[in-house]
């Protein structure tokens, strides 16, 4: 049983590394405004063009 668990550790480690790096990568870009959803079309369209129009504010972004 213990050996079985050990065999799966590399796999679990890989998955955790993937999720963590991916999450960190998402945080490394300036945050979009999460409230865009509720602000309707104009807001979200702006956010989607975030590659050019970078919104520097992080204040209203949960988590």
């Amino acid at each position: 049983m213990k050996r079985q668990v050990i065999e799966y550790l590399p796999f679990l480690g890989i998955v955790i590394v993937i999720v963590t790096t991916s999450w960190l990568a998402g945080r490394s870009l300036p945050q979009v405004r999460a409230s865009a959803t509720r602000q309707g079309r104009r807001g979200s369209a702006c956010a989607r063009r975030g590659s050019r129009v970078r919104t520097p504010r992080r204040a209203c972004c949960p988590s």
């Binding site: 959803t37 079309r41 979200s44 369209a45 989607r48």
Partner: protein
């Protein structure tokens, strides 16, 4: 179709005809094979399965003698164990060297190849031990050797054939239950032998692997069995797995296109401003 199918085995294809009706279960073939090919020890265990010790074919067992005990009469024979009907079926199993060999088809390194004798051989120095051939074989013949990490199976003594000799097992077989020779000639011989055995009252005798119309295109090593193939641990209707591969690739292609279209659609709906989706 199997992609290997168009490759017509060369003229002068050789094979084994294993006539199990005259096998006496001496296991000389197992020993000769191990000695000649330097096959590692495969476990000295007592299985309790009649006189079987080697259990089945694998990386370290290239000849395997099966022992089957049945409470049934053997032809017209009197078993001599009281009133009980009893017969003992013995059969020396080996790699079938299929006409359409799944192991050869799926091997990603080209380590498995077809020789000029129409046999299928692993090149040990090329194999990287991916293990794909192991589940591909419909007979459960090939295995991955623990000690070397590479696949291994019967070569029909490729080295001996080159020197004009018969394989070790056929040479040593004391009853000629294992016969080696030109495949076409062996098939004719087997057909005659089957008639003879049938005439002797063994109506359950049949040939196995001789038919080039079966799922693996006929085998290079075929058998005369006295009962159903599964009794000896052989599949009754083996099919080379790559026969369905063209259909598999079509399904894979369709699924891949579906994935592409599906993901594109999930992003598209909300894409251009004025689209109806919300993100």
């Amino acid at each position: 179709m199997a992609f290997d199918m168009d490759e017509k085995p060369a003229e002068g294809r050789v094979g084994f005809f294993t006539d199990t009706s005259i096998c006496i279960g001496c296991k000389a073939c197992e020993v000769a094979c191990k000695e000649w090919n330097a096959v590692p020890e495969d476990g000295l265990t007592f299985t309790g399965w009649s006189y079987d010790n080697t259990v089945g074919l694998g990386a370290d067992t290239w000849r395997h003698v099966a022992f089957v005990e049945q409470r049934r009469p053997l032809g017209h024979q009197e078993p001599g164990v009281g009133d009980m009907d009893f017969r003992w079926l013995m059969a020396s199993d080996v790699c079938k060297h299929c006409t359409h060999a799944a192991c050869l088809d799926v091997c990603p390194t080209g380590s498995l190849f077809r020789t000029e004798y129409g046999t299928v051989v692993v090149q040990e120095d090329v194999c990287n031990g991916c293990g794909y051939c192991v589940p591909a074989c419909p007979f459960g013949v090939i295995g991955k050797r623990e000690s070397s990490g590479t696949a291994a199976k019967c070569t029909m003594c490729y080295d001996r054939l080159g020197a004009g000799q018969e394989p070790a097992c056929a040479t040593t077989c004391p009853t000629d239950s294992i016969q080696f020779g030109d495949l076409e000639e062996l098939r004719e011989r087997a057909a005659r032998r089957l008639e003879q055995v049938h005439a002797a009252g063994m109506s359950s005798a049949r040939l196995y692997g001789h038919d080039s119309g079966d799922g693996v295109g006929g085998t290079g090593a075929f058998f005369l069995l006295l009962d159903e193939p599964e009794v000896y641990g052989l599949p009754p209707d083996p099919v080379v797995t790559t026969r369905d591969l063209p259909s598999m690739w079509r399904h894979v292609g369709l699924a891949a296109l579906g994935l592409l279209a599906g993901v594109a659609a999930t992003a598209w709906r909300a894409g251009p401003p004025g689209g109806r989706g919300r993100s």
